[in-house]
Symmetry: C2
Subunit: 155 residues, 2 copies
């Protein structure tokens, strides 16, 4: 299903990850291939799921979203039903950018982006804490973001 990636593929992926507006012509010049070959390789990478999708990256500040926070959530009663409901809600909440289960003493770690501290407080008190499953919530606010590119390391 997933044939091996060669050096051309890696280079194309690296360039597209940083800038998906590059034309096949430009990509071809950078990696040493014709535009038609780049097109064919791109289609293959998209079809195989190596390229999941193309996205516009927006500026949070320009949209009035000034607060990024990491929220650790500890669940109380670990019933299967409780956990399932909690997960479904998290996935559905637009303020939640990322949600992972972690090793260590916290059950879930959320990355949350909201307009301001008031909105964060509302999110925690009105969305998170009222859920049965949730025992405890602890949030840390990002004071300064040095890097947030989410660029995967290639090669």
């Amino acid at each position: 299903m997933n044939s091996a990636l060669d050096g051309f593929d890696i280079k194309i992926l690296r360039l597209l990850q940083g800038n998906a507006s590059l034309t096949n012509q430009q990509l071809g010049e950078d990696v040493g291939l014709s535009a038609s070959q780049v097109s064919r390789r791109r289609q293959k990478l998209e079809q195989e799921g190596v390229i999941r999708r193309y996205r516009a990256s927006l500026d949070p500040d320009a949209l009035g979203l000034t607060v990024t926070a990491y929220v650790g959530v500890t669940l109380g009663a670990h019933t299967r039903e409780n956990a399932r409901r909690f997960r479904d809600r998290m996935v559905a909440m637009p303020e939640v950018q990322e949600a992972h289960t972690l090793t260590g003493d916290v059950d879930y770690m959320l990355k949350v982006v909201v307009a301001d501290l008031k909105a964060l407080s509302r999110f925690i008190n009105d969305e998170l804490l009222p859920q049965e499953a949730v025992l405890n919530v602890r949030s840390s606010i990002a004071m300064e973001t040095l890097k947030d590119d989410n660029l995967l390391p290639l090669e």
Copy 2:
């Protein structure tokens, strides 16, 4: 400089954030505008920096990157020079997806993606700990990722 976004802009941004492959024609059909108007609005949004860039979103597993970890770093000697060097190194390290300074007891929180646990160990022991400024490192590994779309909440 940054004129207010109206409902059309918000809808366009929401669609493009999820799928930047949509053509202006398709966007126009979804929001109720002609393709040329969508084109103009997009250019404005790009120029104003609301749209920062377009990116290909890649599948970490398909690239052999199976481990995501959150790494909390505590600095020892808080000299300006130490901190600056540490920050520069972090920004330059491709394994680091995100780096923030947080409120609370940890100085920096890093999101790190690497091939496997061995690579995580190498990253911590060979990249992080040898730095003068670093006093303590504590990592939590993401066992399951429920959500990782980094889609900003619009509206």
